[in-house]
Symmetry: C2
């Protein structure tokens, strides 16, 4: 018996830090279903060209948002009959973190403050909420927030990324001590930020990927 095969898609929650606030990338849909509504960027998995759902997510990020991200992680899969009017579907959701101004300007892409990302198409409100929860939870014991910053960042920029994700302020000297103990970052020799009159030392992550600590930050 050949069963009806469900639709398989990917959706990506691309998060950015802009104006001291987390933003999520959405796109206004230009065709049915849900035409005219804002939705996460996503698309069908193309078995003939995608090596995996992760590869499909990379392709969608490139083709629809024009970006490559240093961090792209699977969130979870959302499925069922009612989430998409085209039929029974499963969407493998990913989350990606991007420095705030790395996104090419495009007329149909919108960086929406996370707290305003309500009323999105399909079940995308749920997917965004789950992604935000995962990022918050994982940030408590990892270097994840650094991926919201450019590869070279200041210590206060890093603290600010953690603060925005946690939604609370962090004592600066306690933060410096912890970051030091965790050996997460290193000073970039001979570099200093030119963003202010009093230049601050620039740092980079020691590891390329997300590092998980055995205690919370």
């Amino acid at each position: 018996m050949e069963l009806v095969r469900p639709i398989l898609t990917v959706d990506i929650v691309l998060l950015m830090l802009r104006s001291d606030e987390l933003h999520v990338l959405v796109q206004r849909r230009d065709k049915p279903p849900e035409e005219g509504r804002l939705a996460l960027i996503g698309g069908y998995v193309h078995p003939e060209e995608d090596g995996s759902t992760a590869a499909a997510a990379v392709r969608v990020l490139r083709d629809k948002a024009g970006v490559e991200t240093r961090l792209l992680e699977q969130l979870m899969t959302f499925s069922g009959e009612v989430r998409d009017p085209r039929g029974w579907s499963a969407s493998v959701a990913y989350y990606a973190l991007l420095p705030g101004d790395y996104l090419p300007v495009s007329h149909d892409l919108v960086a929406l403050p996370l707290r305003e990302a309500k009323g999105l198409a399909f079940d995308h409100d749920t997917i965004v909420a789950k992604a935000a929860e995962r990022v918050r939870r994982r940030s408590a014991y990892s270097s994840l927030p650094a991926f919201l910053l450019p590869p070279a960042f200041t210590l206060s920029g890093l603290r600010r990324a953690y603060e925005v994700i946690f939604g609370r302020s962090i004592n600066d000297s306690a933060f410096r001590r912890k970051i030091d103990e965790l050996r997460m970052i290193e000073a970039i020799p001979g570099s200093a930020s030119k963003a202010s009159a009093r230049p601050a030392q620039l740092y980079r992550l020691i590891e390329l990927g997300v590092v998980e600590f055995d205690r919370t930050l």
Copy 2:
């Protein structure tokens, strides 16, 4: 353009605590592909009857293993062209925890010690390894291991579940103090284990679901 739709399946890593060791449930495949090899229990998602991939996992657990579990959580989705010779497939993997002797006896089901679960069919070695890692990691700050025990358990039984998952012994009085502080369990009034000559108090979880602590155990 109607695209070729990938195959969508579920696979379940059912873990049990038996003879002081984690075991995983596998089944010998009675048809191609990979006929005769041991594989996780799993199957196609049936859009006409499954409300979601989670519902498909519940159905597969019931039909193939004859069990309902109190804990069933999505692990992640594994996908690609090469993992299954039938074609491009995505499998949404779940992990489930079951008390050691709750499994009905069946001629084709095998409870395999986790460390011997190698050389399974498809990419099931990878799925099992990911599930074991997730369960270990999550157990460090949650009540997860209690779901390897019957609803009424002794304190030393609970400690043993944590010890087996962590792969190290835990100081008994420190464990009792922590469990007490976390308010995870409560004594069942008037009950005591009949497993030994000196009956021990029986406990139950206060919450029905997994509780996550804000610090590690």
